[in-house]
Amino acid sequence: MKTNRERFGLALIAIALIALPFVLAAAGTAWVRITNFAVLFVLLSLGLNIVVGFAGLLDLGYVAFFAVGAYVYALLASPHFGLHLPFWVILPIGATVACLAGVILGAPTLRLRGDYLAIVTLGFGEIVRIFMNNLSSPVNLTNGPKGINRIDPFQIGPLDFSASDTLGTLVFSGPIKYYYFLLLVLLAVIVINRRLQDSRIGRAWVAIREDEIAAKASGINTRNIKLLAFAMGASFGGIAGGMFAAIQGFVSPESFILNESIMVLAMVVLGGMGNIWGVIAGAVLLSFVPELLRYTVEPAQMALFGKLLVDPEVLRMLVFGLALVLTMRFRPAGLWPETRHRREMDADRA
């Protein structure tokens, strides 16, 4: 049972989240967009958390599934093929295709040791990008490096997510509408994640993560359960990808490079693998790092040296790399660790 105090806290958080876009919009719509991307990254991290956090499988090409979802959306809702399906049809298709990609990739590698999976996923991320770059001939499927333009925004009946609506005195701009949609999806994903974690499957994942041989001996079909984690993480990535394509209105292979996978991994690791709230906190924290760097490092360098010596983009990646190394060295279960995971990560170090 939840206490009244907890209920009150939750209500406060809910009100804050609902009011947030209007506060941000006062500072500029750009901030609402930045927040939307942060929520998107929270979704991606939660998806990757199933694979890395729950099941303990290192996936270094997670962005590939994000890319699959984004391209499915782009192809089915843009003038590129002249198809304009509604988003509630495309998002499940994107999730299914990403899931299939996950199964095809996972099936041969998951019976082997974890390191193989890490490097195969690393390669897979790169291969997906090569295909997106080159599938413009002989039949123009992906439009190559130029990417796909003019992707349809979400549309529910007369409600168009790209236009502004006014309700009384409140102005609902496009990004604000996307924000609320993302928030709903996030809520659903959190609920699914919580239920999964406490389910038989969730316990099987943790068992495999902690000791695969013992898990097998206890009657868990380790290969299928691992495959399930992989496929589920991939589907979440596919859904996030579809929403990314709609919000952005444009997809190109450039958005799906290795660095993005590393960023999502850093979010999961820093926050605390396996702990949903930790992962969310990690994703929010690291999502705002590039903005923070842009607003501090750039002006500081301009003032000090009169020119840009260190690109904030490079610093961003250094921060992610350091986050991975330092978290693992000094706080291996993350900033907000899951209790069981902390015991596991610390026990072996004693």
């Binding site: 303990g56 040791r113 390191d115 390669g123 001939s137 041989i213 978290t327 693992m328 072996d348 170090r349």
Partner: protein
């Protein structure tokens, strides 16, 4: 015929570079059963250091060979230090942690190395200065350049040297003993920490030379080159049987050949116009000597990955490896 021979020569050249890089993966794996994710970046740093030195000396009156040698000699210790640091920072403190931990620190280290290289050398590729008179010899209708000959010979020499070191010296015995069983080797008086650090350092030293060879073959070095080179070399190591030194060599050369032949012929093989298909639309596409190529040579980087997947599906232990169980 001469195209086939040419592709074989090109494949042998890149393959021998893959083999040398693969040795770095396989040695580390043999001893601690972990993949050194940052090995590709160490190779990249080797190429960058060597190119900087060579470019700096290019204007001097020294003979070209001495200049290149100076570059290599500067790169080897730089990479060895890098390999040592990598082991100390990313692997040694986590040796008894869950397997996921060192994998994550290693990928973090490789991102850090890559972006430090970006800071140090910039976004643009470094070009190899035109100081070597690259002579081209004809054999049987194909061409082989002096750089290619040098790469193949040097790789063979390094592989032979490493085999001698591992199988004929006292320290080599210590390495093999540690690979067999760390604890028992420790009881026999082998200092496991030293052996493990040594495999990182030796792999990095070999990688430095490989980086220079790879860079001079393609004429450029770039801060991102370590990624695909590392991935391919790892595939080569798995193909040969990871942990097996002879396997890495065989795997590297085979992968180079597959890649060169695949890239050379994939366009021709997937040209639907050369297939016995009768379809009105396709005939229209193929009219007047047109073609309909499904996959062209721009898919070059895909072959290594396909190879890796195929090996993992059909023979996960590799060509020469022992059976790899889920937990060795």
């Amino acid at each position: 015929m001469d195209i086939l021979l040419q592709q074989i020569i090109n494949g042998l050249t890149t393959g021998s570079v893959y083999a040398v890089v693969a040795l770095g993966y396989t040695m580390v794996y043999g001893v601690i059963q972990l993949i050194n994710f940052a090995h590709g970046e160490v190779v990249m740093i080797g190429a960058m250091v060597a190119f900087s030195v060579i470019t700096a000396l290019a204007g001097s009156s020294l003979p070209p060979l001495v200049i290149v040698l100076a570059g290599v000699i500067a790169a080897i210790p730089a990479c060895m230090i890098m390999g040592y640091l990598l082991e100390r920072v990313a692997y040694r403190p986590l040796r008894h942690a869950p397997r996921l931990a060192p994998l994550i620190t290693a990928i973090g280290m490789s991102i850090i190395l890559q972006h430090l290289a970006l800071l140090a050398w910039g976004r643009n590729p470094l070009a190899f200065p035109q100081i070597i008179d690259n002579r081209v010899f004809g054999i049987g209708g194909a061409a082989i350049s002096s750089v290619q000959i040098a790469i193949i010979l040097l790789s063979l020499a390094m592989m032979a040297g490493l085999s001698w070191f591992v199988y004929r010296t006292r320290f080599g015995i210590a390495i093999r003993a540690t690979a067999e069983n760390v604890h028992i080797a420790g009881l026999m008086g082998v200092n496991a920490n030293r052996v493990i650090a040594a495999t990182f350092v030796i792999g990095a030293g070999l990688g430095a030379v490989a980086g220079v060879m790879y860079g001079s073959y393609y004429g450029i070095a770039h801060y991102t080159m370590g990624f695909s080179l590392g991935l391919k070399a790892f595939s080569a190591a798995v193909l040969g049987g990871i942990g097996n030194i002879a396997g890495a060599m065989l795997g590297g050369i085979l992968l180079g050949l597959v890649e060169a032949l695949g890239t050379g012929y994939v366009g021709e093989l997937t040209d639907l116009c050369s297939w016995p298909i009768t379809n009105g639309w396709l005939t229209g596409q193929c009219a007047d000597g047109g073609n309909f190529v499904l996959f062209g040579s721009n898919y070059q980087d895909v072959f290594a990955f396909l190879m890796l997947i195929l090996v993992l599906v059909f023979r996960p232990s590799g060509l020469l490896g022992e059976r790899v169980s889920e937990r060795a």
